[in-house]
Amino acid sequence: MKILIKNGIVIDPANKINSAMDILIDQGKISGVEKIINIDVDTVIDAKDKIVMPGIVDMHVHLREPGREDKETIASGTKAAAKGGVTTILAMPNTLPAIDGAEMVDELKNIIGKTANVNVLIAGAITMGRLGSELCDIAALKNHGAIALTDDGSSVDDADIMLKALARAKKDKLVLICHCEDKSLSEKGVVNLGVISTRLGLRGISNESEYKRVERDIGLAEKAGASIHIAHVSCKESVEIIANAKKKGIKVTAETAPHYFSLSEEGLLDYNTNMKINPPLRSKEDVAAIKQALRQGIIDIIASDHAPHTENEKDIEFDYAEYGTIGLETELAVSVTELIHTGLLTWESLVEKMCYGPAKVLGIDKGTLGIGRDADIAIVAPEKEWEVTKECFVSRSNNSAFLGKKLKGAVEHTIYKGNIIYSMKP
């Protein structure tokens, strides 16, 4: 099966390409990237005025399987990924039970093998049951196929255990991802602490509860001589701490999610539980700081933190509602709307942050359109406008913080290993 993508604007920062090119796909691989390719193929995709970019590598996704298949499954989540131009996912281990041992990795691998529509990589837990007290058998997690470690949803409170985890991760060459939250500071909080929590009469989550833990974990990484990846950075102080650590030469990478550079706490004034997220949507000042951090390269990566929940868990009292928004199907469009169309980022830098950058952090051979690489490609209509509605989602859940928003930029086709796995309905 040969596919030829004609006339698109190819964005491939790994190979320093940003120009009109044709791309030939043969046997699931990229076999040609040239000004003009004329050859007999099975399928031609006319990509005139379209962006042709590597499939997105989303290193922060909650697929919920096993355990909470009512929220999402590997099948439904990877279908949502395809619709969003995402071809590689790092699945978070806070499933039920958590991915905290070799058997769980095997079980997950089995489901992925049978049902996944895109590349799904496995993150194991740092501690047993993600409870923060006992380190997992990290070598076993690694040997069975986990490529990263995280207790996401929780932070490892015990600094000694965290230090040991960093040392183990370094030894076993696993990526250590930190959900930075000091629960003793954020306890019971449901929205950002400040004017809005005051007006709404809701318990607040301070910036401090995040950045104090960012500071601690980076300090521990420095001590261990290990690299560390900070998940979902949401506030200006965290940005500053990460910038300083990078200057000092500490091996830290950082990620943010589209909602942290596009939405602020003010969206919560009508108690919209789809905007109840952890870390919370912050102040406008923080949103501006996250944008600048993306522009300056302090934040390396954009990942969705796709967090599906059922309507029963969201359409209830604000205090009782679950935290999180889905994001796989909107992350590219939100990024294009907020970062490209505003002139904040170039297409190359966006692709760097959504494709090549995360692939580098994860140590995988993805995120580029180099000859011989897997043909994982997203073809994007950069000017196409659409409105986010409940009905538009293929995810099993529709708890999107972006419901009702108009976005500019839409995925037209997603190709995974040379197969067209998604095409927008005409």
């Binding site: 005051t198 007006r199 709404l200 009469g201 108690y271 209830i316 009292e317 604000f318």
Partner: protein, 319 residues
């Protein structure tokens, strides 16, 4: 003093969720209407037929005899039928959800739900899920609009005009829905509002609501035309962050000695139930400046006005 209701004013809300969502005109319409209902309460026969054939359901997830009884009397004075549902704190784990309960009440053909709930935003959520009117009778720390309205009504009756009044609210501002409703209502009507509490009970950014905050009770009292003393709920102290009761009374308690330094005719309000000797001394609570019991009576008139206008509201109006 009697006022005639401005005939041009129109009530356009399906629900009463908070004073934040009302205009100055909306608030004045309710106050003016409450004026006429207040007179009825002093008649030998205290009943009008305005809500005959209508059903008001009091749905209370928190125990509150005062507010519930006040709403019940208000509805009965208007000739409505009243049903009281007192229920355990709703929980995410067990029992029927608030939305389902609301929809059932609607299916039972009730006309107005008066809801008291421990979660901020609960009344707003309920209002989105039912087509009948919802009155917020207190949601978490958020708002208690009829309490705000009755406080303002009482002040207006005493002073004639809210505009330019200096009103201080003293007590646990952070966890008080009464404070928030008073702040929205008073500022909309042009009063100058000061809140006063120990630092940890003043929530961040409260000044953004157009008011002043101080930890100095002397400053809060010095220029005040009225003071609203909030009930201190020491039992809700989760982190041991509150000052001790005696210490609080010493620093913030409203006593004769403190009032001597205030304006002579300062109006002292309290939403009740009062903790004598904790936030207010008995002498002040029962003294000449106190309007605490008048507030209770006025509360009926204000709630009658609210129920009256909501029963007039057309279905499908905004909040």
């Amino acid at each position: 003093m009697t006022r005639t209701v401005n005939k041009k004013s129109q009530w356009t809300h399906k629900d009463l969720l908070g004073l934040e969502y009302l205009s100055k005109e909306d608030i004045e319409l309710i106050l003016d209407t409450a004026d006429s209902f207040r007179e009825i309460l002093d008649r030998p026969i205290k009943k009008v037929p305005a809500l005959r054939g209508k059903t008001v359901v009091n749905l209370f997830y928190e125990p509150s005899t005062r507010t519930r009884v006040s709403f019940e009397i208000a509805a009965k004075r208007l000739s409505a039928d009243v049903i009281n549902i007192a229920t355990e704190t709703s929980s995410v784990k067990k029992g029927e959800t608030l939305n389902d309960t609301g929809k059932n009440i609607e299916a039972l053909k009730a006309d107005i739900i008066v809801v008291r709930h421990n979660c901020s935003g609960a009344a707003a959520m309920l209002a989105r899920h039912v087509n009948i009117s919802v009155v917020n009778a207190g949601d978490g720390w958020h708002e208690h609009p009829t309490q705000g309205l009755l406080d303002i009504f009482t002040l207006r009756k005493k002073t004639g005009n809210i505009k330019g009044l200096n009103v201080s609210i003293v007590g646990d501002i952070a966890h008080s829905r009464v404070a928030r409703s008073n702040i929205w209502g008073l500022t909309k009507l042009g009063a100058n509002v000061t809140v006063c509490a120990p630092g940890m009970l003043i929530p961040p950014g409260i000044e953004n609501m157009g008011i002043r905050a101080t930890e100095d009770i002397g400053e809060a009292l010095s220029n005040a035309d009225a003071i609203n003393v909030l009930r201190m709920q020491f039992e809700r102290d989760e982190k041991g962050a509150f000052p001790k009761q005696m210490e609080y009374f010493k620093k913030f308690g409203i006593t004769d000695e403190r009032l001597e330094k205030a304006k002579k005719d300062i109006i002292v309000m309290h939403p009740g139930p009062i903790n004598r000797g904790i936030e207010i001394s008995s002498k002040v609570a029962d003294g000449a400046n106190s309007v605490i019991l008048e507030q209770v009576t006025n509360g009926i008139a204000v709630r009658m006005a609210v129920l009256f206008w909501l029963s007039q509201a057309k279905k499908g109006l905004s909040k």
